[in-house]
Symmetry: C2
Subunit: 338 residues, 2 copies
């Protein structure tokens, strides 16, 4: 099976300087991958030529505009019809690509994807979902920032989508679902969370009740459902803490000649450790609920992280996530009284 | 200056087994401290007698009831008038203690404190605030879970209280304030956050705009203001991540005989590192906005962590936080149109 992914080559903080080497690294890792790099051809080709001989697995698709990282999503959608982001999404719509990937403006990616691809039947708004490392594997958390003030019905849709996604990409028959709250007791939380708990309970999903923020890392459940504001706060706080910890570690190991010496002995251990907590290895969030696969890379991603998000896209295609989502959405939504 | 703190000796997951050794450890650290241990005298004295000769700095105050960790706060307030928690708070009200500390049920501590001590003029609801470690020192975050669905006016009150607290306990003349959001651009967030930004902007505080979750650890601002749901999620997610990282580290250093050997060299470094990220060293959250000092220890605290929260209480008393809060609240609230 050959997989084609459209890459917004201009997106992200670094543009083609990261997206092109990241794309080449993904091609070296996956045999069945073809990439369409979308953007300004001279910018893209300048980076490609730096990387040695060309490959037939890469194609360049021109797009004259670029969505800025802090541009208003509605404005980008209305005005920039030939942006690298928009053209990449169009390639999914037309069937020329199986998925698209962008490290660009998240709001614009979401708005443009919704406009071009539409949502799946039964889904009001797409969510952003990503796997985070836990003590027992991964936990998929959604929504990570696409929706603020999500009503209970939307949280139920997140639960269904998270369950299907994990069933496919992690090959778990009945993923366990937790609902993020500020305590595990029934009296905790606000009216929205309490109503969402009732809906998810009735859905036939493997619902395990409320979880607190630490459940992201204990791995007690496979999927954590939350409003996008809370998910985003948890994700960014975790990134901040992981960065601080890496920095403290570096400092502790370079504080004296003896420590540098001791550090040499411990280097393989410290490297294995840092690799495990490196959030670049978890880059690649899925915009789930769309009628097509759209993956978001962190804007500040480097080539390693960008490559990782391409692998996430390839897995979603390979596991036919969209087809399974459509099937199971209609089945599960029927089980819940509206 | 002599400081007296009432300790809810029965509170927390471990009760006197932790609160008594933690109290003795705090006395060993602070010269001017007196403690009133509140609870069942036989339980408390059994622990005291294990710790060698008595000290005149400790007094035991009987209380016949205990608030359970998962008890409904309203029920505890109504029914348990002789709980160790209630009696400890009463000692603050009567002036016999300068502050009280509990590792017990957070909701019950908040409800009982509000009922007994009342809030300061201008404060609708108290908040929970704690210092978290950042790359540049500490960041004080509030609210950490006392209030869900906080309206903009409450977020302004949090900003004022956080500013005064940091001014006193960190000796910073003009603490910088950030408002937690899911992006730093003006278009991000919901209506509540946007309105809160306007109010804090007008207040004369040193407001620096929106911050994202990672700001807790970068230390870009001194105070982060947020709704209690979001603050609690960020705090718990961070605790979960820190625990996971410690556990991975232990595992990496014990994976083989060579690694254990290398680990011996690196032990002082690893210990210094773990000490820095140990959240027990940041135990002790303040219930700010009350007409009295009430400190909450983590329910699962060990003696080291419990001792730390006693030091937080002693600092709040020493720095006359309540008096300064009253003064500055009335001044700052006058600056904001209602």
């Amino acid at each position: 099976m050959s997989i084609t992914i459209a890459v917004d080559a201009m997106g992200g903080d670094h543009g083609p300087k990261v997206t092109v080497p990241g794309s080449l690294a993904a091609l070296a890792h996956e045999n069945d991958l073809n990439l369409i790099l979308v953007g300004k051809p001279d910018h893209i080709e300048a980076q490609l030529s730096k990387s040695g001989p060309g490959t037939s697995s890469i194609q360049v698709q021109p797009a004259s505009e670029t969505v800025e990282m802090n541009e208003d999503p509605a404005r980008a959608l209305r005005r920039k019809k030939d942006s690298s982001m928009r053209v990449a999404i169009n390639l999914v719509k037309s069937g020329e690509a199986d998925a698209c990937l962008s490290a660009g403006n998240t709001g614009a990616l979401m708005a443009t994807s919704r406009f071009v691809l539409k949502t799946l039947p039964g889904i009001d708004r797409p969510a952003i979902v990503a796997a985070l490392p836990s003590l027992r594997g991964h936990v998929h958390v959604l929504d990570l920032g696409a929706n603020v003030d999500s009503p209970p019905e939307l949280l139920l849709q997140f639960a269904i989508m998270g369950s299907v996604l994990v069933k496919r990409v992690e090959h778990k028959p009945k993923p366990s679902i937790g609902l993020l709250n500020i305590g595990v007791e029934d009296i905790k939380g606000n009216g929205i969370v309490k109503r969402a708990a009732e809906l998810i309970q009735q859905s036939g999903l493997n619902y395990c009740g409320y979880v607190e923020g630490d459940a992201i890392y204990t791995g007690d459940v496979d999927v954590i459902v939350c409003d996008g504001f809370d998910g985003n706060v948890a994700l960014k706080a975790s990134e901040g803490l992981a960065t601080m910890i890496s920095s403290i570690m570096r400092e502790e190991f370079s504080r004296s000649a003896f420590r540098k010496f001791a550090g040499m002995f411990a280097l393989p251990i410290v490297n294995a450790f840092r690799k495990k907590i490196d959030h670049r290895r978890y880059n690649g969030a899925t915009l789930v609920g769309l009628n097509g696969i759209v993956i978001k890379s962190h804007g500040g991603a480097d080539a390693l992280a960008f490559r990782q998000s391409l692998l996430v896209a390839a897995t979603a295609v390979r596991e036919k996530v969209i087809g399974h989502l459509s099937d199971e959405l209609s089945r599960t939504l029927q089980a819940v009284p509206h």
